[in-house]
Structure formats: C-alpha cells, structure tokens
C-alpha cells in the first residue's frame, strides 16, 4: 500500500504517487479469511513498518470486535486501530440493546459506514470475519474506499497481489477446518516470501460456535516452498 502525501513531483515520473517519502506507520501486510462449514479461519502476518524500519515484528493484526467477530487490519495502523475501537464500542452497545449476539453483517456494516464516510481521510483495508447463530461463518471484505461485499475467501493488504493466483487455483468450496488452516498458512507464507512489507510470524484464528482458537506459526515452522 502506498500513500501520496509529501510526494515530490518528478518530471520524469508518470506516476507521482509512487515517488514517496512517507514515514507514517503502515500495516502493509497480508491478511486472509476463509469460510468453512461451521465457522471461519482468519490469518495475518505480523509486520508493521515505518518506512523501511520494521516498527513491530510481532504485531497482532487480528483484532477482536466481539466475542465471535474479528477483523483483520491492513493499511494505516493508526486508522485501523481507531476504526476498530469505534466499531467495538458501537457493536457492544448494539449487542446489549438487542440482548443477543450481534450478526457479523452488522459489524461489517458498521466498518463500511465509517470507511465510506471518511474515505478521503482514511487508509484502511479491513476484512471482517466471524460466526453468528443465524448465518454461521461469514467473511466480509471492506477494502480501501469503503465498499462491502461478502466472499467465501478474501485476501487483503500489499502482499495479497502475489497470492491471487494461488488462492484462485487452490480454493475449493466445502473444505474442512484443517484444510482451511493449511490453505491459509501456505498462502500467507507465499505472500510473506515475496512481499517486503509482510513477514514475521503467521497468526491464525478459528472462529466457530465453540469460540475462538488462536495459534501462531513461528518463522522456522512455516511451510517450505523451495524452488532450488
């Protein structure tokens, strides 16, 4: 992800937005979420960058919004944290009023409302995923700009470009929980290997009726894809 504040107009460059000197903290990242029968699997890398310096190499980009609803954050670290806090508050309030667990779609709509309304000021790409009793596991993607759409599998962040081909070819409907975990871990590993802004460890979480199970795959335990 790139921003276009403080750029220099280079007369030879046709794309000024790519000649940047930005020192805002970014979650240039790879995030992913997959639906399966009975829940969702979400995953993210763990790198936060400020320019070329890795400000945090063990970031947790999987943020709980409610008991069984998480969001995966990419883009500006500050923006996404602020939005997530605001939505957590709104959703908590809504859930108490309703006196039951909120729908994942409600959480996604709250994200969308905020991301769209303040689209000029914000730089946030968010994937909302969770489980509710009415519709089971769901993944909603709210990319930069503020659109919202439900998808069985969604990838986001700067590293996601590199794995579109892999995800398109390897995703099948009706995978089991273990298959989804393996699929997510492998896709994130491939992205981390190619994208300089993604790296560190792979954080995974499974959200289902039973609750949330989190796991971390350390660097030396990641799946190996060697072409040598």
């Amino acid at each position: 992800m790139f921003i276009s504040q403080n750029f220099e107009m280079d007369s030879f460059s046709q794309n000024p937005e790519f000649t940047i000197h930005s020192f805002f903290t970014f979650l240039d990242t790879t995030i992913m979420a997959v639906e399966f029968e009975g829940g969702v699997v979400i995953g993210a890398d763990s790198r936060t960058t400020t320019g070329a310096y890795i400000a945090n190499r063990v970031t947790d980009k999987l943020t709980p919004i409610h008991e069984r609803i998480f969001c995966c954050r990419s883009g500006s670290a500050a923006d996404t944290q602020a939005i997530a806090d605001a939505v957590t508050y709104q959703l908590g309030f809504h859930s108490i009023e309703l006196d039951e667990a909120p729908l994942v779609q409600t959480a996604a709509s709250l994200f969308r409302e905020m991301c769209y309304r303040y689209r000029e000021e914000l730089m946030a790409g968010i994937i909302v995923a969770g489980w509710d009793p009415r519709r089971g596991g769901q993944v909603y993607t709210v990319p930069v700009g503020g659109m919202m759409t439900r998808q069985p599998v969604s990838v986001g962040g700067s590293g996601s470009s590199y794995i579109y081909g892999y995800v398109d070819s390897n995703y099948r409907a009706g995978m089991s929980k273990e298959e989804c975990l393996k699929f997510t871990a492998e896709a994130l590993t491939l992205a981390m290997e190619r994208d300089g802004s993604s790296g560190g460890v792979v954080r995974l979480a499974v959200i289902s009726e039973q609750g949330v199970e989190r796991q971390v795959i350390l660097g030396n335990q990641l799946p190996k894809f060697s072409t040598v």
Binding site: M9, Y162, G165, Y166, V167, D168, S169, A173, A187, R194
Partner: protein
Amino acid sequence: MSEELFPEPEWLSEEVKTGTTIIAVTFDGGVVLGSDSRVSAGESVVNRVMNKLSPLHDKIYCALSGSAADAQTIAEIVNYQLDCIKHEEDDPLVCSAATLVKNISYKYKEELSAHLIVAGWDRKKGGQVYATLNGLLSRQPFAIGGSGSFYINGFVDAEYRKNMTKRESQEFVVNALTLAMGRDGSSGGVAYVVTIDKDGAEEKCVLGNELPKFFDE
C-alpha cells in the same frame, strides 16, 4: 516541490505497453514459453491477438513485456545479430542470445523499458531460461514477467517442481497464464505457448474458451 492541480489525461501521453504476463519454464529436455495476447495503450486494448513470443533463432525464443516498441526492437536487433553469427556455427548458445539481449538492455537502460525473458535449447546445456530485467542476466529454472506476473508469484512458487515432464510444464504454463489473465486487467485474450526441445520449436495457441477454469468468487 510543485503540485499539478489539473494533470493532463493519461491516455494523451500513454505509450503503448504490452502490460502482460509472460512465463518460461525448463523441463527435462527443453523449455516451454507462454504469454497472453493483450496490448494496451492506457485503458484501450489496441491489439488483442498479439503473439509476444518472438523467435531469436530456430531453437531460441524470447518473451516480450513492457513497452511494445522497445521490446520488439530489441528482439529484432538480437535476431539480426544471431543471424550474422549463424554462418560461423550451427546452433548459437542460449546464453549467447541472452547476453546479446542483456547488452542492449543494459547499455540503453535509461531509455528503454522492456523486460525480455530468453529461453531455448542448445546442445551444450539443454533447456535454459534467462531473465534479463533492466540489464541483469540471471539463469533460472523458470521466470515470470509483466504486470500480470505479480498475481501468480505465490502460485508459481508453490506449484513449480523440478524435472516436470513436457506435458506437465505446458499445463503449468497455461494454468499460470490463465490465473494471471483472470486477475490482471492488462493481460488477456488468448494464450500462446511455445515448446522448444532438441527437435525444434512447436507453437500453439490456446483460445479463451479452451483455457482452464478456476474457482471464481
């Protein structure tokens, strides 16, 4: 530092690019090259059936990407240079062809913006693939290039295996091209595939409706 408030529309100054996907893979006994067929100028597709696999010699081909004019010119010049030395030896080495491409790319790197992948078969080292991005020369088991190649980095990293058969390599190339064309707006059309082994070069065109189908959300 100045800011342009009203930049002129892009298509007025947009050069013709082969925003593209190209790939070359070695297998035991030769190489397989593949490319899409779309040439764009800004948002407009100016040629939807361009063959970006250009012969440099009987058993050496190159795949073009980047600026259409630059890439074609480099390929023609190297084709001519290889023709000149044809009289001295029968089969030029793939390494020689790649070095000639690299020399031009490096010498004029400020003016040119083209990335050619050179691949072929020779008697000395069999099937070889060379990447010549911006003037470097690197021999690799396989190489991908063009704007569409970003989307298949993960796929090729995961799916490439050493010592595939000719059939498997061709399938790998067609699958990779299809996935890239599905995600990159600047790649599309048909898939051209060239297989080079000791017997020569075999060209094939896979039409849009014959391409494999992948899960599309």
